[in-house]
């Protein structure tokens, strides 16, 4: 077999890997857009008149979270296009179709962004939901874009299945990947409908939101980190696949019914309080397993690797996933606590840490692996002066942002909910309380630390591995 997963010598890039590089480039650009709109939203918290009638808060926030979902998904899919030819030992089947749909998606995403930014809202009818904005957090994308996204995932799934069939090779990793992608695509369609019954609306909305980030994305990341560890540390396949199966058993075994932690208060029956609380409290288990796995692998090799930034991001991913999703999620998942904390800034603290740890960490690991192979001569081990600055600044930044949200979240929970009875006046009194109001400036300050980290990251990705010395290709 020509291709191999171990990253110890340069290889010609497959077409699919060149496509992956395009995916990563777009991901990094959208990441920048996410930060710009996050900064504006954070500043509007400090100065509510800022751009009030030009780009109101809801528009900035929509762009912030939508850019995030898209760039992380693009990054994860890019990782599959990167590793698939190495796993199957051949070019990806249907690569021309894959390239075609990719440019359709890039054009589509651009149109959606422009419409969000310049049209923003529409009249209260079906036209708006089809062409401007669906008005449902995270999946605002208008219906036409939903259909394009489903077509995109379908082509992607076809690429994976057809390549595995053509190579006559179904490994454990490929099996899990296919199983997971089918679920991921199918779940998205659960969010593509309108109903006046707001309880049923949110019931199915969570099938996309929760069953993506706490089930199917988590497993997709398990597959990609499996390949990454084989590349970075040469971990044996049998070990990787056994751990992966264990993770899938625990992630799906707890996360599917853990969905119930979003069904405590939306009008759904009471049995969800017990079921959701119980299964979601177990959701951190697989995340602990992932930390043990990553540390065991890295320790077994004394951090001896072909690519230092990628290994650091991989370890940060394991810890960040556990702390952000596991610890900050567990903190508010028991119904006795969630009754008071639900819908406060505490959820945003958890959202930032979890997305950063679990998904941003994975995508940056993948990108550093790809960058190493895209440069000639290939540098082994990949290293630079700058990546560690980007790493440290971004981690410091997100801890500061999430820390601020945690404090304002506790203050809001106590003052608005527990003490004052959850009304409009209680809300105003919580956000004008110094324990809440003071966090806004801190959050903004740490946001700039994060942005500094982003800028160093971009510079590093453009230059790392371009030094003369390196493995002679």
């Amino acid at each position: 077999m020509a291709a191999s997963l171990a990253g110890n010598k340069p290889q010609e890039l497959f077409e699919s890997q060149k496509l992956a590089l395009a995916y990563f480039a777009v991901a990094i650009i959208l990441f920048g857009a996410q930060l710009v709109f996050g900064l504006i939203a954070a500043y509007q918290y400090i100065n509510p008149d800022f751009l009030l009638d030009k780009i109101p808060f809801m528009t900035n926030r929509t762009l912030h979270v939508n850019a995030m979902i898209v760039w992380l998904l693009v990054g994860l899919m890019g990782g599959v296009y990167w590793f698939l030819p190495l796993e199957t030992g051949r070019e990806v089947v249907g690569i021309r179709l894959a390239k075609f749909i990719w440019w359709v998606i890039v054009a589509g995403v651009s149109v959606v962004i422009l419409v969000y930014l310049f049209v923003q809202v529409g009249p209260g009818n079906a036209f708006t939901l089809w062409f401007i904005n669906e008005g449902r957090e995270y999946i605002e994308a208008p219906r036409w874009a939903d259909i394009a996204i489903v077509a995109w995932v379908a082509v992607f799934l076809y690429n994976v299945i057809a390549t595995a069939l053509a190579a006559r090779r179904i490994t454990g990793l490929l099996g899990v990947l296919i199983f997971d992608l089918v679920a991921l695509g199918a779940l998205y369609t659960a969010g593509m409908h309108y109903t006046v019954n707001v309880t049923m609306d949110q019931y199915l909305w969570w099938w996309v939101v929760h069953l993506w980030v706490e089930a199917t994305w988590e497993v997709l990341v398990g597959v990609l980190m499996g390949w990454s560890l084989m590349y970075l540390l040469g971990t044996p396949r049998k070990l990787i696949e056994t751990w992966l199966f264990l993770e899938v058993a625990l992630v799906f075994g707890t996360g599917i019914l853990g969905l119930g932690h979003h069904y405590f208060w939306i009008g759904t029956p009471e049995y969800w309080i017990g079921l959701g609380g119980f299964f979601s409290a177990l959701e951190p288990l697989p995340l602990v397993a992932m930390v043990v796995h990553a540390l065991y692998d890295a320790g077994a090799h004394r951090l001896n690797t072909v690519n230092r930034p990628a290994v650091f991001w991989a370890i940060a991913q394991a810890f960040g996933n556990f702390i952000g999703a596991g610890v900050w999620g567990f903190m508010q998942t028991l119904p006795q606590i969630n009754m008071y904390s639900h819908g406060t800034q505490l959820a945003a603290a958890h959202g930032h840490l979890a997305f950063f740890g679990a998904y941003l960490g994975t995508v940056l690991t993948l990108i550093y692996i790809a960058v190493q192979n895209a440069r000639r001569p290939m540098q082994i081990p990949l290293d630079s002066k700058y990546w560690s600055w980007a790493f440290a600044l971004m981690i410091l930044g997100i801890i500061g942002i999430a820390g601020s949200f945690t404090i304002s979240g506790f203050a809001q929970t106590m003052i608005e909910r527990a003490e004052l009875g959850s009304t409009w006046s209680a809300f105003i009194r919580s956000y004008t309380h110094p324990w809440y109001a003071n966090t806004l400036g801190w959050r903004f300050l740490f946001a700039w630390v994060f942005v500094a980290g982003y800028l160093v990251l971009v510079y590093d990705l453009l230059t790392i591995g371009k030094r003369k010395e390196g493995y002679a290709a």
Binding site: P48, R61, V198, T199, G253, I256, L257, E270, W424, Y431
Partner: protein
């Protein structure tokens, strides 16, 4: 539902473990085969339970079936009352009041609330507010907005409106003109039709039984 959540949870775990063990006879618990079986079995069992509970939930949340009010609830007074047995607030429907000075038939009420829901989505309310506790955190939770004492205490005197629905209408026409607190809601240029519909939707939503969320609503002022 004939089963308690504990029975469902125990059964889910019991069957996942037993079926995995039976399928994996002859393989040690450290072998990939054992964990592959565990992954497939637990995913299928949990998915199956989710689908089954979804059927039950969908049935219990039909408007008018108990937890979710019928559309005509907008014609009545709505209050939150303390339920001693459940130890939480539950919505209660009181005397007939009409809505915007008229009694709405079931079909009219449905059309109005439906238009209100579309208006809510078209203006992206959820990216500042929460609906049933979900959304952004820049503005108030709208679950019980209809029942908020602020309308009577502050907005009715400010706008000179006679009823709560008229006060909401007057304020939502141009919120930045009458800012409340530090944060401002932008003018979303609602038409009168849209506002009437939106307020109907909020009134209907305020009568949903949310298991007591948001806690102690308007109890301690």
């Amino acid at each position: 539902m004939d089963y308690s959540w504990i029975q469902i949870a125990v059964a889910a775990i019991f069957f996942s473990v037993v079926i995995t063990l039976v399928l994996s006879r002859g393989y040690g618990w450290l072998s990939p085969t054992f964990w592959r079986n565990a992954a497939v079995v637990s995913s299928l069992i949990m998915t199956f339970i989710l689908l089954w509970l979804t059927l039950d939930t969908a049935d219990q949340v039909r408007p008018g079936s108990g937890r979710i009010p019928d559309w005509t609830v907008i014609n009545y007074e709505i209050r939150l009352v303390w339920d001693g047995a459940k130890r939480r607030q539950v919505p209660a429907v009181g005397r007939e009041t009409g809505f915007f000075g008229k009694k709405w038939t079931r079909q009219e009420a449905y059309d109005l609330i439906n238009k209100g829901k579309m208006t809510l989505q078209s203006r992206n309310c959820m990216e500042c507010h929460q609906i049933l506790g979900n959304g952004a955190y820049y503005a108030t939770d709208l679950t019980r907005a209809w029942l908020d004492p602020w309308w009577e205490e502050r907005i009715m005197p400010l706008t000179g409106a006679k009823t709560r629905e008229e006060a909401m209408m007057a304020w939502l026409k141009n919120p930045p003109a009458m800012p409340q607190g530090r944060r401002k809601m932008p003018n979303l240029h609602f038409s009168d039709e849209e506002l009437k519909a939106l307020i109907a939707f909020l009134k209907w939503m305020s009568a949903i039984d949310t298991n007591g969320f948001p806690p102690r609503f308007a109890v301690a002022q």
